[in-house]
Amino acid sequence: MNTIVETITPTQLENLSRIFSGRILLRREIPLNEPTFQQFLDNQYLIPQKSIIKKLLAHQCMRCGNEKKSLFAKIPCSICNKTHLYCRKCIQMGRVMECEPLYTWGGEPPNWSTYKQPCTWDGTLTQGQLQASNHMVQAIRSGEKEYLIWAVCGAGKTEMIFPAITETLQQGKRICIATPRADVVRELYPRLQKAFEEVPVQALYGGSETKDATAQLIIATTHQLLRFQHAFDVVIVDEIDAFPFHADPSLPYSANRAKKQDSTMIYLTATPRKDHQKRIAKKTLPHTFVPVRFHGHPLPVPKTKICFSLKKDLDEYRLPKAFYNWLPKRENSKRQLLIFVPTIKLAEKMKDSLASILKKEKVISSEAMLTSVHAEDVDREEKVIQFRQKKITVMITTTILERGVTFPSVDVAIVDAGHSVFDEAALVQIAGRAGRSADDPIGEVIFFHDGKTEAMERAIASIKKMNKRGGFET
């Protein structure tokens, strides 16, 4: 698009509408040269709007919704030669400045394709999965505004959403699957491509190859929704309770804006937060509960082991004695082992003392089979892959691996389970890492602690309750 478009053909216009409609972009995110861009403004194909508005008591960034005073600052701008505001909140996505508008599409909306049988996945859903997916399809058909799927860890959420995607595409509508974490986008993208072979799918996350969003089926991080406005007929928000979605107000703000006026928003979660639980209880949020894992076995119920000298052990970067007592008594010593610790420092420093003992106990044969990961670890993706390939037997991790990752056969130890980073949702999620495959549907989950916390008790009670609702004896 480097020449001025003299007259725009209907096909070109359709392509342009696919590029720009549903988006809210900065000038530098619009791949048009200046004359073409000006012409688009004149033709009102692109509509400028204020990027930062003044409200009664605050300013608001029109891209991320930020109204927090400390997240605005003034810049003596060399572009307009005035000193004005910019938004510090969403600056990682490119700076929003008061002197530069945001642009939205002013032309006709695109005509999305109508697919007859888009789904090429040939698996079958379990009864629990089927029920949830039928309800999702119903919600889309009847134009329900919101719908929540509460499915236990390991229920097989991804497969459950395939019929909802199919329904949307059959109606010739547009759908986005949004998840708080880029890791999950990368993992789901090939699975979606395979399940919908003839449908163009695009994956958007910070650093993704594709920046354009021209596909009818999009999988994106929730952050990427900051660049959308009234784009989707169906938005499925995965892990609605996960960080940072629940902690960062701009993410729900942009998810809400990304959907069209008449649209269906579907939330997926294994551990709904209080606000959603309340709405479920009040019956203001329709939902389906999927209490059974896809393999039909109950969730592993965590056991607790008290460690009286835990603080001292941790100060010296040692695992507690109770851990070493448990280690040789594991039910199935062939399982890999995930050890959750509360801090990055512990994850890094515990490795050495653990390595020698694991070798002595013959859990690992060399130090290379033990590793640690945390959020600041640059090799984190690689390590997770190696663990999945069983090149690594034991992994010490922070809460970074609490969700979204599936390893077929692991035991899980949570060291200092009473630490405040392990809230109820985190503990339930972590416990949900065990027993994920049909070949080894049970796994051990041990909370090592020096005093039971409410979060631990509630997590255990909630797991038991979910099992009970799934028809299992507890």
Binding site: S70, L71, I75, P76, S78, R88, I91, Q92, R95
Partner: protein, 226 residues
């Protein structure tokens, strides 16, 4: 007041000292402040790098290469540790102008301690950005640094547009052509300011040009020794 980096609220402890002295308030919380790493101990008397030598090998090389070393000396305050890399990237490349204020007090102090002698008859000259880069970023981080210092700023250098220094290899930087132009001659000593001293090439390019146009001595103050 919220921390400029992590945005958690900073609870100010009120003491007689800060009441009477009216100290400039910190904009970094105590935890984030731990991320800053001052250069301390022995440093190269030319470039501020941490070394046990009086002058580091790189600076010896520069002296050999340039018969007259163009730069009297550079003073840097911080090391380029991972935290600093993140802060600089967000400040300069993402364009979070406000983050520059984190360094205001430290720069003022460093100036007072090392360059007070320039106050009477010297100028500070910020390393410029090219016109294109300036329009892209909206501000020049070196100009922001210069404005913190209690000495007159003269923007007498301009810069040709080229590839970013940070995208070049070490050798590419050192052999690169002088990208600067001078708009006015100065016959007084100059303090160049920039955010980072990496190979010292940029500062020496600017220094050489200033000296060629009559400047007697050129010094440099940089936030970080990369």
């Amino acid at each position: 007041m919220n921390c400029a980096w992590c945005d958690t609220e900073i609870i100010l402890s009120l003491s007689w000292a800060n009441l009477i002295m009216l100290e400039k308030e910190e904009i970094l919380c105590s935890e984030c402040k731990l991320g800053l790493e001052w250069i301390n101990g022995n440093r190269c008397d030319r470039c501020s790098r941490n070394t046990t030598e009086k002058r580091c090998a790189d600076c010896m090389w520069w002296e050999e290469k340039e018969k007259n070393e163009s730069l009297q000396f550079n003073y840097s305050i911080f090391t380029y540790n991972p935290f600093m890399k993140e802060v600089i990237a967000k400040w300069k490349y993402r364009g979070d102008y406000y983050l520059g204020y984190i360094f205001e007090n430290y720069l003022m102090e460093a100036f007072k301690e090392n360059f007070s002698f320039l106050k009477k008859n010297g100028f500070v000259v910020p390393i410029p950005l090219s016109e294109e880069r300036l329009l892209e970023r909206g501000f020049n981080q070196a100009k922001m640094i210069a404005d913190f210092l209690k000495i007159e700023t003269k923007e007498i250098l301009t810069r040709l547009h080229g590839e970013k220094q940070s995208k070049k290899s070490r050798m590419e930087r050192i052999i690169s052509k002088n990208p600067f132009f001078i708009t006015e001659s100065i016959n007084k000593p100059v303090l160049l300011v920039d955010d980072i001293y990496t190979t010292g090439t940029t500062l020496r390019h600017a220094a050489r040009l200033l000296k060629k146009h009559g400047c007697p001595n050129v010094y440099a103050l940089t936030l970080v020794r990369g």
